[in-house]
């Protein structure tokens, strides 16, 4: 009985081992004649795809050349591998590329096997883009297709920093075509967007601060459905991030005026690609301000711009004054961390006021400037009190030291008196 059990166990273990061995052998035998041949070719146009494919996301998901190009990767001859009877498709034409990729990427059931969260509407969206429309409707092969942005054979995940569509690489990828004046000439569109964008506040945030949430081309224009936002929709584009400013603008008297004059809502003041860091110098009635480009002395908007600017300047001056005196007190060793923290309330009010100017309402701006000035005033008073306390301590110290020294001298004199008496007693006794 015991012997039979031993034999049964041995047979079971042997079977499992054999199966594992067969699997390993089968895996070793799986080959790709496409890669084997193409990697040896001297023509780099033909060998490069085989080399690039090593880093391709499709390869890491178990796909191979034949999954896109068809054919038989197990065949030993070129003819057999590229046999149309075996579904060989070869290199697709530019016009066919969206459908070529969409064969899998538009198939929700198929994509679920690899990445259930990946969208499957890229192809459909692409045909709503300027690129897609030109491709489909005018057979324009010079427009961007999937591979223009995502590259081909060396395609990486968009979350891979080396990917051409990683946030910090997108502008450069778009610029390959859009920054070329010759390439853009037939389409009649400018080619200065990329250099302008590089000077913008958004580019500074993206490249200098490494803030990947800062907008790049696709955040405003869309990616697969890339289109220039029209005048009517530009505020919605900016409002995706600057929601409060967009909301305030909609309620402002500027909204109707801009609509009437067919002006782009945000871009008229802030420009589009070369958006500078907003500053208080933009608002007001002085030279160099934006408001005077439409408003002139005597109209309501001119007066409102003047008031808003002067109140903002007042708050800035108040904060600066309070900060200076608190810093001075701090350098003298006074504990002012609490008033310094509370002064942040005035800085918050200033930030809020800068947002509220989009309402173009002096009353709205005043609602936060007033309390902000109160906070700044309290900070200044706290700084003054700290400096007063510092002076009081010095004076107190001087008085105390005089008293302490006086006391020490008194004790010293007392010692001398006692010791003098003791010496006299000793002399008398002797």
């Amino acid at each position: 009985m015991r012997y039979r059990s031993y034999v049964t166990s041995w047979t079971y273990v042997s079977s499992v081992a054999l199966m594992l061995l067969l699997c390993v052998v089968a895996q070793a035998q799986k080959k790709s004649s496409c890669i084997e041949c193409h990697i040896k070719l001297e023509d780099t146009r033909l060998s490069e795809p085989a080399k690039l494919f090593d880093n391709d996301i499709h390869k890491s998901r178990g796909l191979s050349c034949n999954d896109c190009h068809g054919g038989d990767p197990n065949a030993d001859t070129k003819e057999a591998a590229k046999d149309p009877a075996k579904g060989f498709l070869g290199k697709p034409k530019t016009l066919d590329i969206p459908a070529y990729c969409g064969k899998c990427h538009s198939d929700a059931n198929l994509m679920k096997r690899f990445n259930p969260s990946l969208r499957v509407d890229q192809e459909r969206e692409y045909y709503t883009s300027v690129h897609g429309k030109l491709l489909k409707e005018k057979n324009e092969a010079r427009v961007a297709t999937c591979i223009s942005c995502h590259s081909v054979h060396g395609i990486r995940s968009p979350s891979d920093p080396l990917s051409s569509v990683y946030p910090s690489n997108v502008a450069e990828t778009c610029s390959k075509c859009h920054a070329s004046a010759d390439y853009m000439k037939p389409f009649g569109i400018p080619s200065d967007q990329y250099p302008k964008y590089k000077t913008s506040v958004h580019a500074k945030a993206l490249y200098e601060k490494q803030d990947l949430s800062a907008p790049t081309c696709n955040d405003c224009h869309g990616n697969h459905g890339a289109t220039p936002p029209g005048i009517a929709s530009v505020a919605n584009v900016c409002g995706q991030c600057h929601a409060r400013q967009a909301e305030l603008f909609q309620t402002s008297p500027h909204k109707a005026a801009f609509d009437q004059k067919q002006l782009g809502e945000c871009i008229t003041c802030h420009s589009n690609h070369a958006i500078p860091k907003p500053s208080d110098q933009l608002i007001g009635t002085g030279a160099g301000t934006l408001c005077i480009s439409c408003h002139s002395s005597g109209d309501k908007g001119f007066a409102a711009a003047g008031i808003m600017r002067s109140r903002i300047d007042e708050l800035i001056a108040g904060i600066d004054k309070s900060t200076a005196i608190l810093t001075q007190a701090e350098r003298k060793g006074m504990e002012v961390s609490k008033p310094k923290f509370e002064l942040k309330g005035a800085t918050d009010a200033l930030t809020h006021a800068r947002v509220l100017i989009h309402s173009s309402s002096t009353a709205e701006v005043e609602k936060v400037i007033g309390p902000g000035l109160d906070v700044a005033g309290k900070g200044y008073q706290a700084g003054m009190a700290a400096l007063g306390e510092w002076r009081f301590r010095r004076q107190g110290l001087a008085v105390s030291l005089v008293f302490i020294l006086f006391l020490a001298v008194l004790v010293y004199l007392k010692i001398r008196q006692i010791e003098g008496r003791q010496a006299a007693n000793t002399v008398t006794r002797s």
Partner: protein, 359 residues
């Protein structure tokens, strides 16, 4: 009227004397004498340390009126003391400065006793109680440093307890005991507060009583060189009045330090924030910290840091044994060896502290 007053005071004094035998204490104080020789100046440092300890007790009690020992409110309560409480800044600064001065005078006192051989028989227990007091005072400093719950204190405590944690066998349990868990948290603060205001003061009082009592019992030590050639000064009032001048001047120094260099509070501790760069312990731990920093990672196959900590523990233990090793005033060779060791130790502490401070 005046006569009635005198009579009443005399009656009260007599009443008290019958119960407390004050007159015998006064007679003893009047009879007590202090030796006068070239090194008598060092006698004042013991009294100065005691005075600063009293300052610590008084200011500590005043701080206790407002201090709240929890991670949520400790920092805020100290901030309240120094900004809102009348003269709270002065009390807090004096408490911090006085603590540092007390440790300094204690070191001076210990080295003066060491070099003048004031531990020779029959003063061994006086020395032992003094060494115990030294370690208690250092513990006071370590536990009190965390109480404001600021960034520097938090990370210094973290580093300090980590050093204690590397001691073989007892290190890990000791670390958990000190921290009240695996990390420095509010539990550590509560624990340190308990040590600082209850355990350490009680222990210090016991050892201080023994120390002072023994000094009275044996009198002040006279170095061998002056044994047959010294004058005497009355303890009361001559010596005590001189002490008083020192204490009055100490108050002046403390007031000046507190007013001119108020002890900083810094930023509130944030356990999730990274440790500030170049973090250092208090100056009296700096020489040990610097030594551990300089030690190689491995010494004779052993962990350098562990070896360093064990060596410091060994030195601390040897400090207790000093009066039992060097007990013969006639042994000139041993006296020379102890002098050399003392000078090397003193130089080592001074140099490493300066290096630690500068680097």
């Amino acid at each position: 009227m005046r006569l009635v007053k005198i009579v009443k005071i005399e009656t009260l004094t007599k009443w008290l004397d019958e119960r407390l035998t004050i007159s015998s204490v006064v007679a003893m104080a009047q009879k007590k004498e202090v030796p006068l020789h070239r090194h008598s100046i060092w006698y004042y440092f013991g009294g100065m340390t005691l005075f600063l300890f009293c300052v610590q007790v008084v200011t500590g009690i005043l701080l206790l009126l407002y201090y709240r020992p929890s991670s949520e409110s400790a920092f805020e309560s100290v901030q309240f003391i120094i900004t809102e409480v009348k003269f709270g800044w002065l009390i807090r600064s004096i408490h911090s400065w006085s603590a540092n001065l007390m440790i300094a005078t204690l070191f001076i006192h210990m080295f003066s006793v060491f070099f003048l051989r004031a531990y020779y028989p029959p003063r061994e227990i006086t020395w032992l109680s003094g060494v115990f007091l030294l370690f208690i005072v250092v513990c006071f400093g370590f536990s009190g440093y965390l109480l404001p719950w600021n960034k520097l204190a938090f990370f210094a405590t973290k580093v300090g307890t980590e050093i204690a944690g590397v001691v073989p066998i007892v290190g890990r349990p000791m670390l958990r005991f000190l921290r009240g868990g695996d990390d420095v948290t509010g539990a550590t603060l509560t624990r340190f507060f308990g040590f600082h205001v209850a355990v350490l003061p009680a222990t210090a009082t016991v050892f201080l009583a023994i120390h002072v009592l023994l000094v009275q019992l044996h009198g002040m030590h006279v170095p061998k060189k002056y044994e047959h050639n010294y004058q005497r000064m009355k303890f009361f009032p001559n010596f005590i009045l001189r002490d008083l001048i020192g204490w009055i001047l100490a108050i002046g120094v403390l007031a000046a330090l507190a007013a001119l260099f108020p002890w900083e509070l810094g930023e509130k501790a944030d356990p999730f924030a990274p440790a500030p760069a170049g973090i250092k312990p208090e100056w009296y731990f700096l020489f040990m910290f610097q030594t551990l920093k300089w030690l190689p990672a491995k010494i004779l196959g052993m962990d350098g840091e562990v070896l360093g900590i064990m060596a410091f523990n060994g030195v601390a233990f040897l400090l207790f044994l000093v009066p039992f090793i060097d007990r013969d005033p006639e042994n000139r060779r041993r006296r020379l060896i102890f002098n050399v060791i003392g000078v090397i130790a003193l130089l080592f502490i001074v140099v490493m502290t300066i290096v630690g401070y500068v680097t």
